[in-house]
């Protein structure tokens, strides 16, 4: 299972190479969404743009995913302090809220359809579907990581090992990242519409 080679333990690293690699991956995801949102702005400026009210559900969902982030952070603190109960409970809560976010995004798309904004009605709506859809795919990856974390929490004996701490931190960084990404996207949609 040990995939990295051991000269990562030289001790000169202020940041674990895997964490650093994850941050780089986040940077590349940021670039992709920067590309998408700037395409949105360029296209918006060109006219022929259907104006519509973004369903309030997306706002509620922002709160949900922020709650999930907070829960996971609290679970991490519980883990670091060796408190098993809050660790497990909050981890489960973060996972549940993450799943809820995905379901609610889907409901949000249905709501958009209800108000007559279909995927191919106008680029203004298409962009919302595509950007939130690609974001949801990234959240799905985070939920999968959380599922693994939950599985570990409930099947492995509670022990604070270096490997498990690193794993937890990687999950935490990515989860905070997709949450913040959604907050950015939501603010972007609201201010641009």
């Amino acid at each position: 299972m040990e995939m990295t080679l051991d000269n990562t333990t030289v001790g000169r690293n202020r940041i674990h190479p895997k964490k650093f690699a994850l941050l780089l991956a986040c940077a590349s995801i940021v670039m992709m969404f920067a590309g998408l949102t700037s395409a949105y702005m360029v296209r918006h400026a060109a006219g022929n743009w259907l104006e519509f009210q973004l369903p309030i559900l997306f706002g509620i969902n922002t709160v949900i995913i922020l709650g999930s982030s907070l829960a996971l952070h609290a679970a991490y603190r519980g883990f670091m302090r060796g408190q098993e109960k809050p660790y497990k409970g909050l981890l489960l809560a973060a996972f549940g809220l993450g799943m809820a976010f995905l379901v609610m995004q889907y409901v949000g798309w249905l709501k958009l359809q209800e108000i007559g904004v279909e995927l191919n009605t106008n680029p203004s709506g298409s962009f919302v579907y595509v950007i939130s859809g690609i974001h949801a795919a990234h959240v799905l990856g985070g939920v999968a990581a959380l599922a693994v974390a939950v599985m570990h929490a409930f099947t492995l004996p509670f022990k604070k090992t270096a490997v498990r701490k690193l794993r937890f931190e990687l999950t935490l960084i990515y989860w905070h990242f997709v949450d913040l990404l959604w907050v950015y996207l939501y603010i972007f949609f609201v201010t641009q519409h």
Binding site: T4, T8, P17, L24, M31, G35, A39, V42, S126
Partner: protein, 620 residues
Amino acid sequence: MANVAIDPTVTHEEKLIEDLGYDDHFHDHHHGDKYQSNFITTYIFSQDHKIIAKQFLITGMIWAIIGGLMSLVFRLQLGFPEESLAWLKPFLGKWIVVNPETGMGSLSPDFYYALVTMHGTIIVFFVLTAGLSGTFSNLLIPLQVGARDMASPLLNMMSYWFFFMASVVMFFSLFLSTGPFSGGWTAYPPLSILPQASSGSASGMTFWLISLVFFVVSVLLGGINYITTVLNLRTKGMNMWRMPLTIWAFFITAVIGLLSFPVLASGFFLVMFDRSLGTSFFLSDIFIGGKALEHVGGSPVLYQHLFWFLGHPEVYIIILPAMGIVSEVLAVHSRKPIFGYKAMVFSMLAIAFLSFIVWAHHMFMSGVNPFISNFFVIFTLIIAVPSAVKVFNWISTLYRGNIRFTAASLFAIGFVSMFISGGLTGIFLGNSAIDIQMHDTYFVVAHFHIVMGVAAFFGMFAGVYHWFPKMYGRFMNEALGKIHFWGTMIGAYLIFWPMHYVGIAGVPRRYYRFDTFQAFSHFDELNQFITIAAIVTFAFQLLLVINFFYSIWYGKKVMDKNPWGATTLEWTTPIKPGHGNWPGKIPTVQRWAYDYSKGDRDFISQIEPLAEGEKDEVSH
């Protein structure tokens, strides 16, 4: 690990590693090499960066041959449109249309465009991105920074296999009944979106998109690894200013790739939605057969912005690794420190930065606001400054050097020549006013083929000849290498030099044939000449292929760990390094990478401590 210090056969370098090296207990943890216990884990699903490098290289070579052969077919069409191509029918099947009365076989125009598109896609992405930066980043980053392997060998292996999947999908698309994608390697809409637009726009484009998405994943996985390894896994003493220029080049290349490829991916996602789900991001007001399509309100120029935001950095992703290799090879083979080490680094950083703010110079004629064009013209022309710094430094490195004209150094010198002649025409094209005449002519084709096609290939060849002993423990044949060099050098100029002339006269690129254009008919003979030059030059490349594969098994054996007398760390490993690269401790670095001809010594390895009162040369 066994203590070898008491063995009298131990060399000076081995003793230095033993005395000063860092013991990471690597081999205590990796007994019996569980990663490489059988054929499959050693040669196929290997996690060893050295094997992965060879996988990238050989896959790249196969693609280079396919892409090169494609160019010969369409060059035959351009040079000899009146000659029969019926003899190609056994290879190209229905794409050669044979007239039943005359027996004259002609290349189908659809397939001509498919060949041009595939030639571009294959050479740009599969050969000069994966085959060049994939090969040498993998081989050299861990070896030259003093690491056991990449930060994540698993991701590294996946990077290759994503590239492999991209290759397989693209290769299958060559055999589709509607042919591979034919709308140009840039895949502009509407040709890339409307399946009915051309025969290659049907399944061919679907395969192209899938392949390229796999390829983007491959580049990102590789790039993340390269950056992390350079920043986190350098051995003790290897500070950033002691890194060889190869490492700087691969590092900057990976950063550019990491920031630009995701933007290309976002463009591709939008293309997929337009193609398959009826959205209108890039399409508007299109009539086919008098009927309007449903797509309304999109903008094809938007795609061009997204594409060229990658597309321009991509040319630096191609050329920077070649620059790094050339810097290293020139210094080693002229037995002189690289001239202006820090200037080299800063100019690469400047080029990398500028590469992100010049993309619209590919779109001067796409209806971009001419006032905005000014901005892009200025930044484009500024790129000449760091480029000129680099050229000056390479020439100064050669100046009064004790040059060994090996195949590797010849190709490095050839690179400088190509980079100068191709770079100068870039100054013409960077002007939006001159571009009105020059755009989409053979002048553009000549420019980019010399400056990033041939030049990058030269960098790759230099790297292959120079590091072949490290890869396989044998030398390539020098005489064949030199014949290969002179054939390629002269041949490449014979192909592309006349194209400038044709282009200035206004002959457009991408045309299938020119017989209806009387104004261009006096270029017929020149076109024939170019085609013959291309065929001959391609034949010279077979020398490299033969030399490469012959030398893997029958080349002259390397007897000395450091056959070129180089200072960098990869030559302190055993002749055939195993998994983990160094058998015992990891060497630590005591000085910069370019101590050649210092005092009365020919070269001083990076692992040798500074003598008393000696200063590290890095300061300038």
